[in-house]
Structures are given as C-alpha cells and as structure tokens.
C-alpha cells in the first residue's frame, strides 16, 4: 500500500476509518523525518492490516496543535477512530513494526 499525503480537510474522515491508521506527522525541513519516511514506505508495502498516511505539520498547524504535537517526527496510531499510540522521534524499523501491532 502507498503512503498517502493527508490534506487538512480530509483529516476527520481519514482517522475515523475502521481499523488501524498510522499518521506520520512530518515537516520538509526535518532530517529525522526524512529518515523515518522510507521505513514507513517499506512497512506500508508489506502490511495490509494498517493504513498509512503522512501529514505535513507546517500545512496543518491546527491539527498539530490539537494533538499537542511539538516535536517531529510524531507517529499517531488510530484504531477505529480512537488515538491508541503516539511515538515521538526517530525509531528503528523493528520499533515501527511493534507500534502498529
């Protein structure tokens, strides 16, 4: 599966989906974000139990503020519309797999 970029207006409908949804909150100027995004691409390719999205926090300041995001990369894992896990900072591919379990 491909990692889709979320637009601010799509936010609610995306996170309210049934099942697991992982959102990679990033910014274009953030080095660690650039390191984690290929890991998420890899994981998305081999995973069908979770949907993967990315959110540019500079273009969605309100969402970032609502979720109290003040460091990136921040990964938000929703399940049936509910925020289940939050992970802040660069993590390993193994930790990433663990996060969506």
């Amino acid at each position: 599966m491909e990692v889709k970029e979320i637009k601010e207006e799509e936010w609610e409908s995306i996170i309210q989906q049934t099942g697991k949804v992982l959102v990679d909150c990033y910014a274009v100027w953030c080095g660690p974000c650039k390191m984690i995004s290929p890991m998420i691409d890899e994981l998305a390719k081999k995973t069908d139990t979770c949907k993967f999205y990315k959110l540019n926090v500079d273009e969605a300041e309100e969402i970032a503020m609502n979720y109290g995001i003040n460091a990136i990369p921040t990964l938000l894992l929703f399940e049936d519309g509910e925020l289940k896990k939050t992970s802040v900072g660069l993590i390993s591919p193994d930790e990433l797999e663990e996060l969506i379990k």
């Binding site: 080095g31 390191m35 993590i91």
Partner: protein, 293 residues
C-alpha cells in the same frame, strides 16, 4: 565470519565502512535505528572542508550511498552484547568478527527526572532547531550553558514569546560573545538555579520546579546539557572513563587488541563531523592493516 563488524552507522561508522569496504574484506555495519547518526538533525553543515553548505540529511545520505555502492552489508539490528572472542549478539542474530569498530556516537544527556521520557514531544525537547517552531508565541525554558545551549536561547528568542534561560550558575565565559547577544534580547530572562528538580503537568509539560521550590510556568523545556555515550553494553570487554566514553591511548585502539573505536563515543577533545570521519578512516585502515600483520 566477518573480517570487520562496525557498530553504528553515523559519520564515523560509515566512513570506516567506506575505507574497509574498498578492500576485499567482508564487512558488516550494524545500526540500531537509521543511518546518519546525529548529523541528520543538522539543518546546515557549513564547516566541512570543501563543501560550502549541505544539510545533515543530504550529507548522511550521500555517505550512505557511497558505502552501499561498495557492496557493504548494512543491517538494522541493535547490538546487545559483545564477547571477548568478538562474538556480536544482536536483537536478531549472532555474528562472529575478526575485528570490531565501535562507532556508537553519543546522545543528548537527559536530566533523568521522573516523567522526562513521557513528556518528550509533549513539551520537552533536546533540539531547538528541530522543535522550536512548534512553540511560536509560547513560553519556553532552556537549561544549559554550553555553546549549543546559548545558540538555542538565541534561536528560540526569535520565535517564541518568552525564553527563561537557566545556565545552572555555571560559567559561560568561554562563550561571552553569545552571552552578550542574549543580553540584547528583551524576551530572555536569566534564572539563577542549579538545576530543574521536577517536571509538572497533566498530559503535557506545564510547569518546571527549580531548586529552592521556585516554579515557572512554561509550554516547553529545551534541555541542552551536553552529550553522553551509549557504551554500557561494552563495559565487559573494553575500558571506559567515568562518563562512559571509550578510552583509547592513540585514538584508535581500545583496551581490547581487536576492538577499535571511532567518533564521538571515544574520549577526545573535539567532537565534530570532521573528527568523526577522520576517526572512521583511521580505525578502518588500522583494523585491516593489523589483520594482515
């Protein structure tokens, strides 16, 4: 069996791989998280000889590509232990090496206060240039007195409403020029305190408690109290100093004849990109040469 196992894929480890990878030797790089190490956080590198300006991410990626082109194996596994006989135990496997280069770098020093880990990303940060923009119009504190801490204060002063600077009453004389610049900022208030004793807040950081029970309301706290190495797991096989940095008399050899060290993780006077890559080159050529002797 690998000829050289390199632990860590930051600038020192990857440079070691670049040099070792140009020989016919079998090389393995083990990295716990992602290649590049701390340099990926640098927005701009402007003091690397011969390169006018490059982002830390681009630098790391070019170096990584260079190493990959040589066919060096890079595996993402965390090393848990190294034995005297150079067996390397990771989270996934066990490897045997003829020599090992430790290039595990260092990480931001933590205060080790209760709730510190839990509040990272919820008000606590160790990188002002990474996370500062989330605090536009807000109030933050910066703890620390070294050059990085002072630069953080100046950087944040231009973004946030107010900066409380807590230099822990230590001398910041070496960086007098930066201190003078800070004095010119109207929104920076210097707080005399030895340290932070408590982190308060429900879901996010709301207040910090200083010694003498003084409390300050903040939205963010930037901790810039230096670096610490991650060498606990090697202490059964090699010598370290009291801060956990690996001791090396000549900058390459450790107390084990076949374990070498490179980069920030060793005892050294200057921890910079240039010295890390220099270490990596020397460690790799020394390890290979001593294998042939």
């Amino acid at each position: 069996m690998y000829d050289v196992i390199i632990v860590g894929a930051g600038p020192a480890g990857l440079t070691a791989a670049l040099y070792a990878g140009r020989t016919s030797r079998k090389i393995l790089v083990l990295e716990a998280k992602a290649y590049g190490g701390q340099i990926i956080k640098a927005n701009k590198i402007v003091n690397y000889p011969g390169i006018l300006e490059i982002s830390g991410f681009d630098f790391a990626t070019h170096l990584y590509e260079q190493v990959k082109q040589l066919g060096v194996e890079i595996k993402y596994e965390t090393v848990n232990r190294i034995d005297e006989d150079l067996t390397v135990h990771t989270t996934k496997s066990i490897y045997q090496a003829k020599s090992i280069i430790i290039a595990t770098g260092s990480e931001n020093k933590r205060l080790n206060l209760p709730r510190e880990n839990e509040l990272v990303g919820k008000g606590i940060s160790y990188c002002a240039t990474c996370d500062g923009s989330f605090f536009k119009g807000k109030t933050v504190a910066v703890l620390g007195e070294d050059k990085i801490a002072l630069e953080d204060v100046l950087y944040l002063a231009d973004i946030v409403k107010k900066v409380y600077w807590i230099p822990r009453n230590k001398s910041e004389k070496e960086n007098q020029k930066l201190v003078e610049e800070i004095k010119l900022k109207d929104n920076v208030e210097r707080i005399e305190s030895q340290t932070i004793t408590s982190l308060l807040g429900e879901d996010k950081l709301e207040e910090i408690e200083l010694d003498q029970n003084q409390r300050i309301k903040v939205d963010g706290l930037f901790i810039a109290i230096g670096q610490s190495p991650k060498n606990e797991i090697f202490k059964n096989v090699i010598d370290m100093n009291e801060d956990g940095y690996i001791v090396s008399d000549d900058g390459v050899h450790t107390s084990h004849p076949k374990i070498y060290v490179a980069g920030d993780t060793r005892v050294k006077t200057l921890r910079q990109l240039t010295t890390a890559v220099s270490d990596g080159a020397i460690a790799a050529t020394t390890a290979i040469k001593e294998m042939e002797d």
